[in-house]
Amino acid sequence: MLTDVGQYAVLLAALLLLYAAGASVYGAQRDDDRFVQSGRIAAALAFPLMVIGMAGLLIALINNDFSLRYVVSVSSLGTPLFFRITALWGAQAGSLLFWCVLMSAFVFVAMQRRWDADRELLPYVTATMALTLAFFIVLTLVSANPFERLDFPPSDGRGLNPLLRHPGMIIHPPVLYAGFTGFIVPFAFCMASLITRRKDDLWLRASRRWTLVGWVFLTLGLILGGRWAHDVLGWGGYWGWDPVENKSFVPWLLGTAFLHSAMIQEKRGMFKNWNVALMMLTFGSIVWATAIVRSGLLTSVHAFAASSMGPIFLGFLVVMLAAMLYFWLTRLDVLKSENALDKLFSREGVFLLQNVVFVSAAVTVFALTSLPIATEAISGQRLTVGPPYFNAVVVPQLILLIALMGIAPLVAWARGNARAVARQSAGALIFAFAVLVAVFIALSLPALTPMTALAAALAGLCAYTAAVTLVEYVRGARARMQANHEPALVALGRLIARNQRRYGGYLVHLGVVVIAIGAIGKGFFGSDAIRNVPLNGTFTYGGYAFTYRGTQTVPCQFDDCSTLQAALKVTRASDAGPFARAGDFVGGLYPRVDRYPAQQFTSTIADVTGTFNEEVYVILSAWEDEGSSATFTVYINPMINWLWVGGVIMTLGFIVAFWRAEPSPVTRAVPVLQGAK
């Protein structure tokens, strides 16, 4: 009963949104505010209706109402309450509904904001958001209706996909969806600004904080996804250039480029055209991303099963792109830059270069990911490229971005001075060189290869960028100490509070460097091996000795599975290097295999030990004769933990940039050449 109410609520939401779009545009054309306001209210109402719809599905899940096809596919009598709730986004139909709920929440909050200063944009913001959201709701109801009933309800369901019963998978999808759907707000502002032919940067300033919210959720979604893959998929890695990973990375690259180039428009009135194009590309890539995962167009480890959504999505993408292109081309005259780029060696120039690299990286990832579809359309044969090729082509571009991060803060606006940059970065360069030499010596002691030289160079680059960024804090704080006679910590605190975006941004940069260090460590020095070992036998690998102590069946954490667990004792081996003594105890490892007979599914769960800087990751790959011998795959993952720390630092940077320590920046005059030296 309540479930049916939910279904009708969702349908009503879609109808209200269509009305909202029509009424807003009509009101704007007729200059009749009553229609605009009714459109606004109608668009906002979609959210409570979608919540009722979600509640209807949740009640069905909690009560295990097996007359719903969706409940059968993700729940069972033995599924604990907690996972019955998270099953809401455990498969295609439910997660698409959940996606719509999140998007409607963003629409709701945007409709509640004060529209005094930018009334002119309201009708078109409403219309853009309402039409986009309506599309996703209709898509849900037409091709993946979570409320679909079965004629003959079974007595039990299939239960939640075991891969999804992990904390990372419980948080990861909502966070990622929030990132995707959050971009609807800046996108709608962008379209509204285009449609109303505004010359100023109102849309940027009005939607800036929303862009940041979308961006941080996207960032966190990517990092949490990597963590989940590392913990659950049993392959030792965190990023495999899988289509589903790539499709989240492309909007991230474009959105990050946008966050940077938007600053140039706010400060110098430049890049207007580019910013509009970037925002449209970002949102377009989000729709493309959703289409890829949802329609089964590309084979992936974690895509949803093939579905009929492809053509519907394609239709929407074409209509959306056509609308974007139309409004963009007919408004090129208002997107003229107010200032010319006089000198490439200036803050604007570095930003431009950085933007070009971000976009080229995004285009590369997009093109290589779409290669199978494109080649199939052209020649009928699907061509794919693997992770090594992605690494070879995309990673150099990302390295270039890290270098630019180390240069940009030092280059002055309008006209940069190469000598001043060299003088200011002298300390950082010396530090970076010292790091380079130290890393090179440490790495080449065991073996000298071209790889160690490259890794040392990259470590030096990371050290340089980190040093430049940290010096920015020190220099700013010292200036305040001298000018205002403030104690060091007070000066630092006030410096950050007065320039939140800038110093929050630098903190994000530091997080990126930390992530890069983790990626270098794992990428260059990570290694793995497969070893078969008899009971109580020992094998050595990567400076560790592993002694196999047997397997045993232990209680599984869920009642629809059984667990076989192996025990390994890990000690330092004799070749462990100068800082460890052979025989030192490192840890006990209990890698396990969870079998889910009802679902014919096996989940290989790794166990880890080692130190913060070197993770030892072991999975039980196979075993023979009740465990008289067993096969283990060992991954040595140097620096991988830096990735997660970098993610935390990036989030802190976002909080610094977002937190309102000062009155709203929109109402405050922005100095034209803020940050000029």
Partner: protein, 148 residues
Amino acid sequence: MKPRVFIGIALIFGALIAVIAFTLAGNASLEVKVDELLHQRQSGVDLSQRVFKLTGTVVGDSIRYDAKTLDLRFDIVQDRETLVNNVAAAPRVTVLYRGAKPDTLVHEAKAIVTGKLDGDGRFVAGSSPDALLLQCPTKYEAAAKAQP
């Protein structure tokens, strides 16, 4: 924007496109099914350097695994229908893989193997973690799983 800047941007993109255009063919793998691979092999073209992403259905009683040497071999046929209807006469490809035997390697499982053909017409899987992917025979959503 000055022409100089435009030229600079065009050069960067041009270089990138050139790099990809020249290196793609040697690094891309072709997605094929069993019948297609056998057909290509009979056509007499030298396939020894070509990387394929081969999809097929596992013949359960062909699976051989030596735990000591980690040598794994099994046969795959075109699809599930072939396996059910006419497994004896169906054309098949033998897959060679080095590594732990995945639990999901069972009769009727769908295998996606990345690798090359050797001189004897056997398909040698690569060593990357996703060289052998298996999908359970059930129609379970998102049940594909990377191995090892």
